[in-house]
């Protein structure tokens, strides 16, 4: 019985991943110092178009794409070092949304759908998954419908990077089946999108009303069910990777303050009530990092197996809990300064609060893990 199911202990790191990590680290620290992060907080789209173009030019949008569509076919696991590095430097781009959307397409799309969209995404077109009907990431069905004559009815909440997306992949119900359908941004009136005010100001999302959008049978992903399941797991994993990077960054910010702020004639980092929880942050971040690279090792281009599901869910649960802890203590350990907008600690707390819900919070993941591991 049971924890034999946690027995997959694969953790490897390929030369390609190592190269991606190296270049991603220097790219992200170069292009996304804290003042550029801050200058983007109030910008329309939340990212620099130039940086995004550079990433496209570097081939990063094609890392996990099949060669026949212009990608380098290294697998989704190879994006993890990049996404972790983006999280470390709070570098925002539509990379994560697009990668998740392209994974849904790769895993569930027809040849025609893939041939049309994947090469465009490699070249920088933005894709976004539209899943939520309400605040519940755990929902098992949707009230959004695609009628028998292929007309959409319903709205989706908090679609990431929606304002810049060229393609939406929308979860709907069609003739009693759960389907993913492709909706081109051009099919929507401008009024369909309403921009939301997010707790993490480095992120962007809209609610979208799809009422009356007319599609055809060709818009449905033939292998929708698997694509829906796998893209949510991949979404959880990419969020975990980004969160792990952000935890490491939050830790750096805390350590910098603990080694510079003096009270009662001593550096505050010498006080164990600050030192020991900071060590806990490190350990929690380390566990998250271990688990995301384990997940990166066991996911592949085939339908995700049980080991991969376990790995993605564990990574997500650990990584966003770690970030929440680091974000929360990060405010407290900066004292009054921590309560200010100016203090960078807020960036990580806000991110933690946003990230915990992406693709299901820790408790949601554990609920699924319990079924996978304990029955």
């Amino acid at each position: 019985m049971t924890s034999a199911r946690t027995a997959n202990m694969a953790l490897t790191f390929s030369d390609e991943q190592a190269m991606i990590l190296e270049s991603a680290k220097s790219f992200c620290s170069d292009r996304s110092n804290i003042s550029s992060v801050r200058s983007l907080l109030t910008s329309e789209n939340g990212y620099s178009a130039d940086v995004w173009s550079e990433m496209v030019a570097l081939g990063w949008t094609g890392i996990a794409m099949p060669e026949q569509y212009g990608g380098s076919e290294l697998g989704i696991g190879a994006t993890i070092p990049l996404v972790e590095s983006m999280g470390r430097h709070l570098l925002s781009t539509p990379y994560i949304s697009t990668t998740i959307a392209s994974q849904a397409l790769q895993r569930g799309g027809s040849e025609e759908q893939k041939a049309k969209w994947l090469p465009q995404m490699v070249r920088g077109s933005v894709g976004a998954l539209a899943l939520l009907d309400n605040e519940d990431w755990g929902a098992t069905n949707t009230s959004c419908t695609l009628s028998a004559d292929f007309e959409l009815q319903g709205s989706k909440l908090l679609v990431n990077d929606a304002a810049v997306a060229d393609l939406f992949i929308v979860w709907a119900e069609h003739n009693g089946a759960q389907v993913l359908v492709l909706v081109e941004a051009t099919a929507l009136p401008a009024s369909a999108l309403s921009k939301k005010v997010l707790i993490d100001e480095t992120k962007r999302a809209c609610n979208i009303c799809f009422n009356g959008v007319k599609l055809s049978a060709e818009a449905i992903l033939p292998n929708s069910e698997a694509a829906l399941r796998d893209s949510r797991l991949i979404g959880a994993l990419l969020t975990a990777a980004e969160a792990t990077g952000s935890s490491a960054a939050a830790l750096d910010v805390v350590v910098a303050y603990l080694t510079s702020r003096v009270q009662f004639g001593r550096l505050i980092g010498s006080y164990q009530s600050l030192k020991h929880p900071t060590v806990e942050m490190l350990i929690a971040m380390d566990s998250a990092r271990t688990l995301i690279y384990h997940a990166a090792t066991v996911v592949n281009d085939k339908m995700l197996n049980q080991d991969a599901e376990i790995a993605c869910r564990m990574a997500k649960a650990q990584a966003t809990d770690a970030l929440l802890f680091a974000g929360d203590r990060g405010i407290q350990f900066h004292g009054g300064m921590g309560f200010t907008y100016e203090c960078d600690a807020q960036l990580y707390l806000r991110r933690a609060l946003w990230m915990q819900h992406q693709y299901g919070d820790a408790q949601h993941q554990r609920l699924h893990l319990a079924n996978l591991l304990l029955d």
Binding site: M9, L267, D286, L291, R366, L369
Partner: protein, 409 residues
């Protein structure tokens, strides 16, 4: 604890597979029958002659059959083989839950230390006896007034002709009453400015005049360690390791072995591995309202939290072998291993007792305990790992200061 990445890859090789099968078969065939008394879960619970004799015989048998000290040189009683063979033997001992190889202070700490920095004389004299369990070793670091603050210990060793004369007392000496040798940290110089510089390290005989031990009863009610008194005790000057004044440096090196941060141990298992599988099995067996606990949603959530933690713990040993994934804090995983592991097991075992309901308020000796009080012992004895070898709080200081660069207290 530390893992050799080469050995992981090599693990797939056919001769290693074959070897694994061989050890497993040997262990299954030779594992001793249930002796009818409680066997220790760790080497810190050797509380009677009966247990001592049993474990001594077992370790001797494991060694003489070639499954202990496999990577140590042949001339010191080893087999001069690749460390991977010993790792495999250890994994099988762990998996099959055979008794522990109890002479741990020799096998895991003093032995590798002597191998690393000992003289030829010391290697010849000590190493074989460690392996074959003839010479039991103990450790004399802690004192009644100085535990975590090891640098301040007061036990004196004064040179007198060919001897050192030792005065003072050590405490929490695991197997002090059974040991033939002690790794002893004592003060040879009280004048020096930096107190650390006055310390020296000895491979000291315990069967010397003026050395006495008094067993101390542990919280579990068992025995396992002693207070050790030195009253004008004479030990030969040849038992000094290195030179006078090098004691602190050598003691710190020893602690690296003890905390599992450095490889070189002779092998064998020192602690019965009690893992999540055991807890899950218990949660399956224990019922509430006609349902296994394993069906209770709150219990399930807690169990999954532990499973995530356990998985990250084991996987960390793989990540240590991938420097690119440890670049920002390269020492983090090795230095935090003891803290992560021992604290996880403490909480997990405590939870096992919580889950048992009123049954866990019974204790060893009562017929109605679950598995003879296995979890009561497991939880309480686990404190030996969160206290011994540097407490968890001290570990957190070390990590904070040496990994994160935070200032000293």
């Amino acid at each position: 604890m530390t893992i050799n990445t080469q050995s992981i890859k090599a693990n797939q090789a056919p001769e290693l597979k074959e070897f694994r099968t061989e050890v497993a078969a040997w262990l299954a065939h030779n594992r001793p029958a249930d002796p009818g008394f409680l066997l220790p879960q760790t080497f810190m619970e050797v509380g009677s002659e009966q247990v001592l004799d049993f474990l001594r015989e077992w370790q001797h048998k494991v060694w003489s059959s070639g499954y202990l000290g496999m990577a140590w040189p042949e001339k010191y009683g080893g087999r001069g083989m690749q460390p991977v063979f010993q790792s495999i033997a250890d994994q099988e001992m762990k998996r099959l839950r055979v008794p522990i190889c109890f002479n741990v202070i020799g096998l895991g700490w003093a032995g590798p230390l002597i191998m690393d920095i000992g003289s030829e004389y010391e290697k010849d004299k000590y190493l074989k006896g460690i392996l074959n369990a003839e010479d039991i070793w103990c450790q004399g670091f802690s004192e009644p007034n100085h535990g975590s603050d090891l640098g301040s210990i007061q036990t004196r060793a004064q040179r007198d002709g060919d001897d050192y004369v030792v005065n003072g007392s050590k405490i929490w000496t695991t197997m002090g009453n059974y040991a033939k040798y002690m790794i002893l940290l004592a003060r040879t110089d009280v004048q020096v400015e930096r107190r650390y510089n006055g310390l020296s390290f000895f491979l000291a005989p315990m069967h010397a005049e003026g050395v006495t031990t008094t067993p101390i009863k542990k919280l579990t009610g068992e025995y396992g360690f002693t207070e050790t008194f030195f009253t004008e005790a004479r030990i030969p000057a040849t038992s000094l390791m290195g030179e006078e004044g090098q004691g602190w440096h050598i003691a710190m090196k020893t602690l690296q072995y003890e905390r599992g941060a450095e490889a070189g141990a002779a092998g064998g298992i020192s602690i019965l591995s009690i893992v999540m599988n055991d807890l899950l099995k218990m949660a399956q067996d224990v019922e509430r309202e006609g349902q296994p606990l394993l069906k209770d949603p709150v219990t399930r959530d807690n169990l999954v939290k532990f499973l995530i933690e356990e998985k990250a713990l084991y996987l960390a040993e793989k990540r240590i072998g991938i420097p690119a994934l440890c670049a920002d804090y390269p020492n983090s995983l090795p230095l935090s291993g003891k803290l992560r592991g021992t604290e996880f097991f403490r909480r997990m075992r405590q939870y096992a007792l919580t889950l048992q309901g009123a049954q866990s308020s019974l204790y060893v000796g009562d017929d109605d305990t679950l598995e003879g009080g296995f979890w009561q012992r497991a939880y309480m004895n686990n404190f030996s790992t969160t206290i011994g070898g540097g407490t968890s709080q001290v570990q957190a200081n070390i990590i904070g200061e040496h990994v994160l660069g935070l200032p000293k207290d």
